[in-house]
């Protein structure tokens, strides 16, 4: 923590009133209510659309405001530092969200599944070993084939690691004001992200149709789909952010000195990358 920022007299940019935060809260309110009623069979799924639409409207508008402020030179080093710190801590909270699911995975693998053996209650052929591919007549653990590591998942690892390299190339180019490589690097990253998601979709399809592996396949299915599913969601979000950054680059937005949005997107992408490595090792491989 450095204590020397060079401001003092210069004043911090405090935006004037904005309706977006309030509208966003309303959108989430509508979405959450619709979700609860939908889960309990009271309203159809499309009831969630209005809330979702409001949220998208706000995200576009609010970020639009911030981008316009940035373009008009509102943000100096002081504001920039606030955004950077904010993004870092936000990613920190995301890490802890995944930690909960990894914690659940380790817990069931190391404790719950083996311990159940000593209770002798599940079904006669229960072995208490991981992966918990059911052999027995059990509703909660139907027979299924666990997901292997060395097919699509290995390819996906390659895709994401490569995308980590391409985004770094883009960063390197940006710092040297080399627009060609910046655009190429970003475009490649977005494409690799999309390819990853496509492979993931194929893999899910394979799991459901051929392996008999579903969200309901015992705690193996639960941890598998929740971990990879939330990761996939984050890849999608990260790719959308990178695509926006690419679009802004094409409009000539960033410079070697002023590119917080690019760095935030890149940090986010690396975070998604690292989570995947954990997934590959502990969900697919070991």
């Amino acid at each position: 923590m450095s204590d020397s920022h060079a401001h003092g007299a210069s004043s911090y940019y405090v935006p004037s009133h904005s309706h977006y935060p309030f509208t966003l809260a309303l959108g989430l309110f509508a979405l959450a209510l619709a979700a609860v009623f939908n889960m309990n069979g009271k309203v159809p799924g499309w009831a969630m659309l209005p809330g979702a639409a409001v949220i998208i409207y706000v995200v576009v508008g609010w970020f639009g405001d911030v981008i316009r402020e940035n373009r008009s030179g509102t943000f100096k080093g002081w504001e920039d530092r606030a955004f950077r710190l904010g993004m870092l801590y936000f990613i920190g909270s995301e890490v802890m969200f995944f930690a909960a699911f990894f914690g659940a995975l380790f817990y069931v693998r190391q404790l719950a599944v083996p311990d159940l053996l000593s209770f002798d209650m599940l079904y006669p052929t229960y072995e208490g070993s991981w992966p918990l591919a059911g052999k027995g007549p059990s509703d909660a653990i139907p027979a299924f084939t666990p997901m292997g590591a060395w097919g699509l998942p290995a390819l996906n690892t390659g895709l994401l690691l490569t995308s980590g390299v391409t985004v770094t190339i883009a960063h390197w180019a940006l710092l040297r004001d080399n627009r060609t490589w910046l655009i190429l690097g970003l475009a490649a990253t977005v494409l690799l992200g999309a390819a990853f998601m496509a492979c993931q979709a194929v893999e899910y399809h394979h799991a459901y149709t051929e392996l008999g592996l579903t969200l309901g396949s015992g705690v193996y299915g639960s941890t598998f789909f929740m971990l990879t599913g939330f990761h996939g969601l984050h890849v999608t979000i990260g790719a959308i952010i990178l695509a926006v950054v690419l679009g802004r680059t094409l409009k000539g937005h960033f410079s070697s000195k002023d590119h917080f949005a690019f760095e935030a997107a890149a940090w986010y992408w690396h975070f998604v990358d690292v989570v995947w490595l954990g997934l590959f090792v502990f969900v697919y491989w070991l």
Binding site: M1, H5, H7, G8, S11, Y12, Y13, V14, P15, S16, H17, S18, Y20, P21, F22, L24, A25, L28, F29, A32, L33, A35, V36, M39, N40, V60, D65, R68, E69, A82, L85, G86, Y89, F90, G92, S93, M96, F97, A99, A100, G103, A104, Y107, V108, A112, V113, L116, F119, L122, L132, S138, A140, I141, L215, G216, G218, V219, G221, S222, M226
Partner: protein, 534 residues
């Protein structure tokens, strides 16, 4: 809403004169406005949470089932706790952070003003979602509010009605709000301090909040993960907490308390931050042991994330784990004791006066001390086998959360109200409020230690005959406690509306710190340019 209008508005430079009336509050980016909204929300939810539990106390006035059926009883207990923790105490602390951190560290505002407003406006929807199923139930619709206690343990929570879903979604919204608020606090403290204010010159309140914010950022997402798993177990066929599928209900307890134990410190660290300010003001002596207090706060925050399993010693775990969690829990009392001694040393031989904030601060020290000592008893594995899930635990955490939490917040309200409103509150009513609160609080909760030690279980609407007398006392105390809070509400509201003499800038004779150099109330935009600290 057309997108065309976005481009049209969206610009600054009419900074001072934003909208007026309702729109000012809905669309504000001003830390003082947002702080005020947090504090008002907190007070309203405090009254709602109190009413919920007074109906429970009414039922417990006598053994047997009188006025409330067990199904409703279960809802009232859990919702009371969720409302008090997430909608009364936490927003109160965030309200103070918004109001006072920028003033205390010489910043023009919070670092991320729009995010700030979003954080607040998530709360009213969340509170509505939390309580909606209870209200519907009272009109005969649906299966009622969350009825598995505030801890939402499966298998009960995996099987009971739709109230759990409402609670989960509400907790998600409140969680987003807390994480956003915390990010804002961290960035504000790290990035917005006046030139010359090094970390070791930070006001203690900022240190307390910084630790709270770290804990929230680290643990709220784990709670979010846990309740998401609960939701998918309920509706989407997963088996995280279902042994039939290889899962384990105890897993939920681990995840919940990984959040839940730090949460109790999240609630108290901001208060431990400003209590020393109050003590030094009214003892007219500098705060004792600034560095020791800072490091204690840091240690407590760090220790609080490694002790969680003391909440379910009786659920069954290896002896090694029991011993580890017992000793690590007990070790927290070391830095906590350091804080206590620093507070006492601060007032030691000071020239004290006993205005209402000071009374609440002193009451806080004594009563919260009882809460901490009884916690030590519960941390003993062998003793806890007897006391777990008894009324002893209820008494323990009310000494920490009501005396430590709510009374601490009240000390802060009385301390800063003249600064916030520019008017003095009624000292006479303040003192009456204090004494009535202290007496009725002890009347309510002291007997619960005894019935708990004698074996009365918590969360049950009926009890054995021999517990009757103490429960009668407790119920009478609770209603007195509830009614006494109306004095507080009256006092605050009238002060806010400009009754009472005008406050000076310093307000208190012994006040120190940047916030007291501004006018009372401070201008809409303060500390621009920033002061320079030598």
């Amino acid at each position: 809403m057309s997108t065309g209008s976005i481009a049209a508005h969206g610009h600054d430079d009419h900074a001072h004169h934003g909208p007026t009336g309702l729109a000012r509050w809905l669309f504000t980016t001003n830390h003082k406005d947002i702080g005020t909204m947090y504090l008002m929300f907190s007070m309203i939810m405090f009254l709602i949470g109190g009413s919920l539990i007074l109906s429970v106390r009414a039922e417990l006035f006598q053994p047997g089932i009188q006025i409330i059926q067990p199904e409703l009883f279960n809802q009232l207990i859990g919702l009371h706790a969720l409302v008090m923790i997430f909608a009364a105490l936490m927003p109160a602390a965030t309200g103070f952070a918004n109001w006072m951190l920028p003033l205390q560290i010489g910043a023009p505002d919070m670092a991320l003003p729009r995010l700030n407003n979003w954080g607040f406006w998530l709360l009213p929807p969340a509170g509505t979602i939390l309580l909606m199923p209870l209200v519907l139930y009272l009109f005969g619709i649906g299966t009622g509010g969350a009825d598995a206690g505030w801890t939402l343990y499966p298998p009960l929570s995996a099987q009971s009605g739709w109230g759990i879903d409402f609670a989960i979604l509400a907790l998600h919204l409140m969680g987003i709000s807390s994480v956003m608020g915390s990010i804002n606090v961290v960035v504000t403290i790290l990035n917005m301090r006046a030139p010359g204010m090094t970390m070791m010159k930070l006001p203690m309140f900022a240190w307390g909040w910084l630790m709270t914010a770290f804990l929230l950022i680290a643990t709220i997402p784990v709670l979010a993960g846990a309740i998401t798993m609960l939701l998918t177990d309920r509706h989407f066929g997963t088996h995280f907490f279902d042994a039939a599928g290889g899962g384990d209900p105890i897993l939920f307890q681990h995840l919940f308390w990984f959040f839940g134990h730090p949460e109790v410190y999240i609630l108290l660290l901001p208060i431990w931050g400003f209590i020393p300010h109050i003590l030094e003001t009214f003892a007219r002596k500098p705060m004792y042991g600034y560095k020791a207090q800072v490091w204690s706060l840091v240690c407590i925050a760090a220790l609080s994330v490694i002790v969680w399993a003391h909440h379910f010693f009786t659920a069954g775990m290896p002896v090694q784990a029991l011993i580890y969690f017992m000793y690590s829990t007990m070790s927290i009392s070391v830095p906590l004791a350091v804080l206590f001694f620093c507070w006492i040393a601060t007032i030691w031989r000071g020239s004290m006066t006993f205005e209402t904030p000071m009374l609440f601060a002193l009451g806080f020290i004594i009563l919260f001390g009882i809460g901490g000592l009884t916690g030590l008893v519960l941390a003993d594995v062998a003793a806890d086998a007897q006391y777990h899930h008894s009324y002893f635990v209820v008494a323990h955490f009310h000494y920490t959360l009501f005396a430590g939490g709510i009374m601490g917040v009240m000390a802060g309200v009385y301390y800063w109200l003249p600064k916030m409103t520019g008017h003095m509150y009624s000292e006479k009513l303040g003192k009456a409020h204090f004494w009535l609160t202290v007496i009725s609080f002890n009347l309510t909760f002291m007997p619960q230690f005894f019935v708990g030690l004698a074996g009365m279980p918590r969360r049950i609407p009926d009890y054995a005959l021999q517990f009757t007398e103490f429960n009668v006392i407790s119920t009478i105390g609770a209603f007195a406690l509830g009614l006494s809070q109306l004095i507080f509400v009256y006092n605050v509201v009238t002060t806010w509306r400009g009754k009472g003499e005008k406050a000076t800038d310093g307000v208190w004779e012994g006040s120190k710190g940047l916030e007291w150099q501004l006018s009372s109330p401070p201008p809409h935009h303060s500390w621009d340019p920033q002061p320079v600290i030598k």
